[in-house]
Symmetry: C3
Subunit: 207 residues, 3 copies
């Protein structure tokens, strides 16, 4: 993969930063919490999905928790959100874009890691999506909100698409940095279309 | 045990289906969620208890997650609930019965598996109950409800009874398909009596 | 360490009792729950933090769950709270003191155990705090409250201080019962000052 791993690491850290920033901002808007709360929820949003995946695949202690770079980047994102707070609102579009980038990258790297640890293809797809949406889900539960992933716009679906591409490519021995990037870009595109046009997944009909 | 394991597998899958159906229906009634939410919450209700048990006893990756049959049956239950929605309300009794069956079977198989992995008898009883009620508890937390098991009718108690019978029988080397069925039937009976007569566990007196 | 381990065990069990009592009382005040709910939430408050820590460091099954002494002490605390209920309100100060003691002890023993299992120093500090505040956080999430640790008074900060002292002392080979007691006493002092004077951690400014 040549410089692939380095590229993926940089992208993964960028996604971590975006998730922490976005997670901390969500927390500040929704609840009366202090600096510890903002830091905790920012870091949980950024690292929670990967931790849940690593618990399930028995890759403990969790990689993003053991690797200080992830902790530093996630803490930095949360503290910047704490310091700047609502002044970041004018950058809402930039933050949504970063969040979509994080979603895309985590879905790909999450599915890929699950395969490495010997999980089946369907399980790897699910764990790719869990890596992408798990942190935000834990944050929402702690903030007493029905998790975003259960109710709004296209969020889990693009993650599932990216994870599926990753798994299929791996099964035909075509996985590598190029496929990873393509899968992430497709996820990113679907997510941004969902945000732009307010597309939602189907809902139960006869409520 | 002869055909015991096959019988238990069939019963376990029936319980999984019932939990997924019931979990998804509860989710549809309680919250504004989309198809991803219904599927997620149905599957979590069905598989969540076993996953928590397997994390605690270090049997990772969790069996019900690795075994595609459980994933397929749980997804099918959730999707049927999504498709039929409130039309299933007229079958409320059937669903309550299926749910009680799931509770009973999971309590027995959960306690049995904990013993296999070397946990002590008290721990195995607790993990039997966790297997039975854990999935519904995670669902309720995600839906912002105080978990059913903490507040209503006889739900945890029959599960604890079935798990205790299982553990005691194992300790005197009498465990097998017949005891498993007897334990499950007793749990089922207590649960249905609790539902029928609205029996609740004691509450704190001096509120 | 001579009698150090015995002293730490006694203190750890005292903290477990205090957490269970306090957790069960909180549950009784906040929600309409039955005896199973009180018992469950008391035990989760007491053992939840250590269980989360042991999952992350891969020390499974979790020590406080496997060791019957912790289960017995936690159950006793929860059942006493159930039996006495609001009559314990007049002992609120005593319970707050016991809770602060539990916080202090769990932060120290949690950080120490994380180091033993090979986690890095920053990770050990975080896990010390998670051990101390994790159980109460899970309880609050199950009761639909924004977790105390995210919003009020000095709770996580003294735990982080005690865990940091523990980790630094270990790194310079000075850790032992005396340092453990000193770290716990400092945590206890900061926590009680926070309670006494209603000190809170800083909040986001521009809400």
């Amino acid at each position: 993969m040549g410089n692939g791993p380095l590229l993926l690491l940089v992208l993964d850290l960028a996604g971590t930063f975006a998730f922490a920033l976005n997670g901390a901002l969500t927390a500040i808007r929704v609840a009366q919490i202090d600096i510890i709360g903002v830091l905790t929820l920012g870091v949980i949003t950024a690292l929670g999905g990967g931790i849940v995946r690593d618990v399930v695949i028995d890759a403990l202690p969790p990689a993003t928790f053991s690797d200080w770079r992830y902790l530093v980047v996630a803490s930095a994102g949360a503290l910047i959100a704490f310091a700047l707070g609502q002044r970041l609102d004018r950058h809402a579009t930039a933050i949504t874009i970063l969040d979509a980038a994080g979603l895309s990258l985590f879905a790909v790297t999450g599915a890929s890691k699950a395969l490495e640890f010997g999980l089946g293809p369907v399980q790897a797809v699910i764990l790719g999506a869990v890596t992408a949406v798990g942190g935000g889900t834990v944050r929402d539960v702690m903030l007493q909100r029905v998790p975003v992933v259960l109710r709004s716009e296209l969020y889990a679906i693009p993650a599932l698409v990216a994870a599926t591409i990753t798994v299929v490519a791996s099964k035909v021995d075509a996985y590598g940095a190029p496929v990873a990037v393509i899968a992430a870009v497709i996820c990113f595109g679907i997510r941004m279309l969902g945000v732009r046009f307010g597309i939602n997944a189907p809902r139960p009909v006869d409520r």
